[in-house]
Amino acid sequence: MRERAIFTDEETAFAQEVRDFVRANLDPDVRRRVICAQPVSLEEKRVWHATLARQGWAAPHWPVEWGGTGWSPAKNYLFVETLAEEGAPELSPFGLQLLAPVLIRYGTEEQKRTYLPKILSGEHRWCQGFSEPGAGSDLASLKTRAVLDGDEWIINGQKMWTTVAHAADMMFCLVRTDPVAPKPQMGISMLIVDMKATSGVDVRPIMLLNGERTTNEVYFDNARVPAGNLVGEVNKGWNYTRVVLGNERLNIARVGLCKRQLRHLKDMVRQGGHVGGGLERLRQKIAAVELDLMGVEALSLRMLGRYQLGEAPGFEANFLKLKGAELQQRLTRLLVEARGPAALRLGADGAHSCLLKSHFDTRVVTIYGGSSEVQRNIVAKGMLGLGRQTATSGKGLSA
């Protein structure tokens, strides 16, 4: 990093401090499993969350008054990428990254005082009730209804793909509060649901082929939550969703994670963990993916530079979501290829985890958080001005 003269000496020293912290404070066995793409339990993640919280590092990007650090964008970027590179488990993003910025901006004082400290400490585990059976990429078509009845909202409907809902204390969800609004986006509100204390909430597992229960369906059957659980204003939920989905763009390509996976791949090949012939072909493929990672990192750093200068970022984040997700899939795929048919074994394969399973799990990254197709639509419309009837003149692609 130093010879590239991209980060200052102080920033480079800070990254080293983060590195040292992970090595000194993270359970080595957890770290090993993260690096080898083996499962880490929710409890182990909670312990790591608490460790970061004690250091004051659970939510560096929050405002200082709520427990953030006031770090520059460059430091925030380095913090996240260094943690990932070093094999730290990722903290659940729902409370820390997704809801908190909305609450800080649009929540009532009481909501902030009630929820933010427990998100920060990790005491409350949150889930996000957005997707529905009929509303995936077309999220605005969601149908779960909420009707105000006195000082309570009554919720009816079904959410789907609700990650860790089975272990969550709280949910923030999108509900339809005006079914006849002129545009579907205009009739949506955001509500907070206490998953433990609310009756009429039924969480059912969705079993994926990886054999793990990580995601769920959530049924609401006349579930009642207090009127005060509305976030911001009624029918403005879609605007807040844009804030949610627009967060954490700085690290959207997951450069640190990719670097870690690349290192793991190289280690495996170096230690003879690959099978069969074709080492030369494998070497070329590894070089190609490493070169692609360099491009993604360069674009991430360019976007970071924009943030650092206070400029409005362009569509780098969409490009980086697209390309970063693709890279993650190529890396796990290469691990599988390197291992050959041995990767087919379910369960442990000698010193290796079931690499095919981890590769399979990675298929989700081009689907969630705005699928690759949706990202392309956003760039086509927003950056290139395509698909709009009014667009007639060319617009340069100046960086």
Partner: protein
Amino acid sequence: MTDMQDDVRRMLAEGIGRLLEREYRFDQREAMRRAVAAGQGLEASVMWPHLEELGIFALAADEDGAQAPATLGHLSVVAEAMGRSLAIEPVVPALLGARLAALCGIGGVLADGQRSVAAPSLLYGSDSGFLAQAEDGGWRLSGHEDLWLGGNDAQIVLVQAADARGTLRLFAVAVDHPGVTVSPFQLFDGRGAADVALDGVVVRDAALVAEGDVLAAAIERIALEAGLLHACDAIGAMRAANTLTLEQLQTRQQFGRPIGAFQALQHRMVEMSLVFELADALVEQAVAASCHGANPAAWRLACGALVRTALSARQVAEETVQMHGGMGLTEEYPAAHCFARLTSFELLYPAEEWTERFSRLAPLEAAA
């Protein structure tokens, strides 16, 4: 975080931008292409004297500038502008010739408007095609190298020649020196080039420009800078191609609507923009890392930049023609010229070859 731009760079970009808008519209560029086809050289160029006036060649030839970290960044702005306007004039080759001379400490000798062009082996980091034999008070040079970009307009050729022991030396030879044959031709992209042969050319010791450590350092650095400046040219050409293609999608009507209304084409245009952005960001970073000279970190990024730019160039070139339909094949419309320019780059800097070089820089066997 440090800022990769500086004020000189911004001013240079604005100055060249204005110049190109005024003196180098596509029809003016085409006039120059036809001039080269007719065997004319820089005497036909309207733009060249203005570029000299802007001081870009002096910037490259400045020996103090050889050590100034910002210089490569400044030249990269020039190279990108040339690519963007698909310039026919051999600006990058002339900059590199002046730059190599400066790195060897003879920039001042050649600065007087004399155009030196470095041998392709120097620019692409391949083996030299020339041999040098010591003679009384001088050297006898033989050999040939093909495809000198801008060689048709060179006054001085800079050749690296090996003696019987394989020791390399750099010589500056005037093209009108007895025994020097310069065979000019035009590339498919319209630029001029030449094959250069030396047949027992006898030069005095004064023609020996550099040897030993000075030469080794200069060679290492000029290959790095050549790659990056050619990549900047390709970045400029990609920018032009993407702008044209986007206009095409917005204006060309088929099936009762602009073809850009079709999602299949939208997504392909997005991919073109994406591969452009990746290459642009990586080249910018590689240029910043290479300003202080050649070192392993700079080479690592440069290899990455060259590979990415070659892959992106090919994709952008092919998609540009495809989305222009038949118009993309015509001489009168710039799309095909973008294709030609970009194809030149990716054939001169093949992605596979530079991936190989990258692999050799950081062998898998070495500990991470």
